[in-house]
């Protein structure tokens, strides 16, 4: 069951709504049609109040679109929009007043009854009244919009009444001009209705919540404009119905003067209400602005904190925000990093570094400098009248100013202006300074400073909010560093994982099987290092060899070099006869190819299985452990590391060793990760200990895997869980008994 209002609303929303230009055009067209009608029918000489029905209806029809717009006005979006609407409304009314005042200059005359005294007057009169014709409904629409904005729920009814009232007035004034025309000093009906409407408008505008949230500038503008608006409104309301202007308007559309009066009355009330509101709002305007800026700044700042991890951006915004929220002219940050102090003035420094240092070294009540005081108390400190201390020069030295290229450019760019502003800057010297520590937990990252001119001061709110901003900055800086280091360490970890994976892929999938020996090899990369490598090669005569290598470098680069080495080894081995030749060729391939700091160590052992001989060449690698007849020793043939020396030098110093073995002898190739493994106390496992353990274990004739297990068990017991710092690689060979196939030759 719909209420009457709802049905009315539905009806109204069903009405077609034209855009403002279109609606005004329709109204204007009706004006034009009327003029034509008058000229053609010659009725232009008749009185404004003597017309026929058709002539009265045409303007009503023309007015309809504008009226519909008033019934279904655009809703004002926000307070800023309300202010704009007000300005527009007032400006149009002022323009109308000015124009109509100017019109007095134009010579034309109408009799009091609205009869033009000449064709010329008729034309001029009609032309003149086009302006109020278009502007008054526009003003009316803006009025309706404004009084609807932010009003209480019950108020739409009042707004409706105002709108209907205006429409009603127009219709009545149009249809019954004679009954509504002014008689003597009696107030016109326009004024009467307008007063009622005006009173309603006053009630509606009484709230005007939107004024409070305007900027201070806007409040002042509103004060001035509403005053002028009131004057303009009075002019409308008090239109002298004996003037030519009114006569001309009436002659066009009899309802026009009535509408002008009504609008005038409405406007008087509205402008008065707004004027009073602006007056009330002005004293607190400053504070409101400050609060508004603070909130906006903090909100923007907060957003930036979550989005940007760039320290430079952060500093830049922090300085801006600090100035905004405390109403300071300049702000800067002093960062403390590992004993070094860095002064950050931002890209467009608002003060010179000399000034900053002067303020930072000014003394507080207990005789210490501001900077020291903040550091000591870990709290916001303020100086109302700063002056430099005696020891200012020393303080300068402790605070190093590191000027970035950008800052330098900014300084140079602003230098020409410096001389011009010098006298002014002396007057407006910064001497009120406050400082807040940038603290996260126990850690003090630095200090935030803000400075005002001599005449200004910091109130309690300023200092409170300075502290808040400083806390946020500190947190953001910490956050940024954490993010960066976590990104960095994550990247490193990723790279290490890739390197480890690559390294594993380079190792041989399986060990050769022989009746003469057993072979076992493994490599365990340490956490951060990926440089060890072992391989099985095939020499030109078909004999197999074992290669063990240690590549300098860490992570992906080491893995890369390993890959390169493996490629070189595998490519060259097949056309090489001995380990010495192979190492020489590898050195040729590597020397001078990578950076001068890089090198690798390698041992290559060729297995002449039937003769139980091992041919060994050692390029800088750690010595090979051999156990013959239960006696252990290290073999360390002469040889330089790979890629250290030029080929000639390398080969000249490379020895090829030939070692003879019997069954049950052992050969252990290793990388230095095992002997250099440390206990929690920092003691090294050592080559001697390794040899002792291996030699002792060999007595039981273990398989290579068993020997490996023994060694590693001892190693684990020694390191007691201490993480290895280097890769552990081991290749174990045991010469076997070969009873069935013992050669006879």
């Amino acid at each position: 069951m719909q209420t009457r209002t709802q049905r009315l609303d539905e009806f109204i929303s069903g009405l077609p709504r034209l855009s403002l230009p279109k609606a005004l055009s329709v109204f204007g067209l009706s004006w034009g049609a009327l003029m034509l009608y008058d000229i053609v029918l010659g009725s232009w000489e008749r009185s404004a109040y003597d017309f026929d029905l058709l002539r009265m209806l045409i303007p009503l029809v023309g007015f309809a679109p504008m009226y519909v717009r008033m019934l279904r006005p655009d809703d004002i979006r926000d307070d800023g929009d309300a202010y704009e609407t007000f300005v527009r409304m007032t400006t149009i009314s002022l323009v109308l007043v000015v124009v109509s005042a100017l019109m007095r200059v134009v010579p034309f005359s109408y009799t009091p009854l609205g009869i033009p005294e000449s064709f010329w007057s008729f034309m001029v009169g009609r032309a003149i009244s086009l302006l109020p014709l278009l502007m008054l409904p526009t003003i009316a629409e803006l009025i309706v919009r404004l009084i609807r904005y932010r009003s209480r729920r019950s108020v739409p009814l009042l707004a409706r009444l105002v709108t209907y009232g205006i429409g009603l007035l127009f219709v009545v004034a149009q249809l019954f001009p004679t009954d509504l025309r002014p008689v003597g000093d009696d107030p016109t009906p326009g004024i009467a209705i307008g007063s009622i409407l005006g009173f309603l408008a006053l009630i509606l505008t009484a709230r005007a919540r939107w004024i409070v949230n305007l900027r201070r500038r806007q409040k002042w503008a509103l004060l001035g404009l509403s005053f002028l608006g009131m004057m303009a409104a009075v002019y409308f309301a008090a239109l002298d119905d004996t003037s030519e202007f009114v006569g001309a308007m009436a002659a066009t559309f009899p309802a026009l003067p009535a509408m002008a009066s009504a609008c005038g009355m409405l406007l008087i009330n509205i402008q008065l209400a707004l004027f009073v509101h602006a007056m009330i709002a002005l004293p607190t305007a400053n504070a409101m602005d400050r609060r508004s800026t603070e909130v906006t700044s903090l909100a923007t700042f907060g957003k930036l904190l979550t989005r940007s991890f760039d320290i430079t951006d952060l500093i830049e915004t922090s300085i801006g925000v600090a100035c905004d929220v405390t109403g300071s002219r300049a702000a800067w940050i002093e960062l403390q990093r590992a004993g070094d102090a860095e002064l950050l003035l931002g890209h467009s420094p608002r003060l010179t570094s000399m000034d900053a240092i002067r303020l930072m070294t000014s003394t507080v009540a207990d005789g210490t400098t501001l900077a020291e005081s903040v550091r000591a108390h870990r709290d916001v400190q303020v100086i109302d009248r700063a002056h430099p201390t005696v020891g200012a020069n020393e303080a300068d030295r402790t605070v190093q100013r590191r000027e970035t290229a950008k800052e330098k450019a900014a300084r140079v760019a602003s230098a020409p202006n410096r001389t011009l502003d010098k006298s002014r800057s002396e007057q407006k010297e910064l001497s009120t300074v406050a400082a807040a520590p940038l603290v996260v937990g126990d850690l003090m990252l630095g200090t935030l400073y803000v400075a005002k001119e001599r005449a200004q001061e910091f109130d309690r709110d300023d200092l409170a909010i300075l502290g808040t901003v400083a806390d946020q900055i500190a947190m953001a800086m910490q956050h940024s560093e954490l993010i960066h280091s976590s990104i960095a360490s994550e990247r490193i970890e990723q790279e290490m994982l890739i390197a480890r994976d690559l390294q594993q892929r380079l190792l041989p999938r399986s060990m050769p099987v022989s009746k003469w020996y057993d072979l076992h090899a493994e490599s365990e990369p340490a956490q951060l290092v990926g440089g060890d490598y072992y391989d099985i090669v095939s020499f030109s005569d078909g004999t197999l060899g074992v290669v063990i290598a240690d590549v300098s470098g860490k992570g992906p680069s080491a893995a890369l070099y390993m890959g390169m080495i493996k490629g070189v080894i595998q490519a060259l081995a097949g056309s090489t006869a001995t380990p010495r030749d192979l190492l020489a060729k590898i050195n040729v391939a590597l020397h001078g190819q990578i950076d001068p700091k890089w090198f690798a160590t390698m041992t290559c052992a060729q297995i002449l299985e039937e003769r139980r001989i091992l041919r060994v060449a050692r390029a800088g690698h750690c010595p090979t452990l051999i156990i013959r007849n239960g006696v252990g020793e290290y073999r360390r043939s002469r040889g330089l590391g790979l890629a250290i020396a030029r080929p000639l030098m390398f080969e000249r110093n490379l020895e090829l060793e030939e070692l003879n073995f019997s069954a049950d002898d052992y050969v252990v190739l290793l990388s230095d990760g095992i002997p250099e493994a440390r206990s929690p106390e920092g003691e090294e496992f050592g080559y001697e200990r390794l040899m002792a353990i291996a030699t002792e274990a060999s007595a039981l004739n273990p398989s290579p895997v068993e020997l490996r297990n023994t060694i590693f068990t001892e190693l684990s017991a020694f390191t007691r869980g201490e993480l290895p710092i280097d890769d552990s690689t081991i290749v174990l060979l045991r010469w076997k008994q070969c009873s069935d196939y013992e050669t006879s030759s």
Partner: protein
């Protein structure tokens, strides 16, 4: 984080770099900077004193290799003195004694410089 310092002093005709602490991948750049500065200042006769060096890794060894060519190309050299047996072993494994002149005493290295340049 291990400590490392490299301090330079004059001992005509050479510059002596005294090493102290742990020379590994983290601290190697410090030594690099020292060498670079010496070369930039046209000081090509360099003696490195290992007396107070506790430990050296392969990264540390690499530093010497990077600068030896430049020094020798300019009638200079990098001579190594005062190594502990442990540190010497690291160099010896790689065959450094065949490439570099290693002495027990600093004065020997100085003498060698004087002798070769006749200064």
């Amino acid at each position: 984080m291990n400590q490392f310092t490299a301090t330079v002093r004059e001992c005509k005709p050479a510059q002596v770099v005294d090493l102290n602490g742990y020379l590994d991948a983290h601290t190697a750049p410090e030594l690099e900077q020292t060498f670079q500065k010496l070369l930039d200042d046209q000081r090509f006769k360099i003696i490195v004193n290992f007396r107070d060096l506790a430990y050296i890794s392969s990264a540390g060894l690499g530093v010497f290799m990077a600068f030896i060519e430049d020094a020798r190309n300019n009638n200079g050299d990098i001579k190594l003195v005062g190594m502990s047996p442990k540190v010497y072993n690291v160099f010896d494994l790689l065959g450094f004694p065949m490439l570099y002149e290693i002495f027990d005493d600093e004065s020997e290295a100085v003498q060698k410089f004087i002798a070769t340049t006749g200064e």
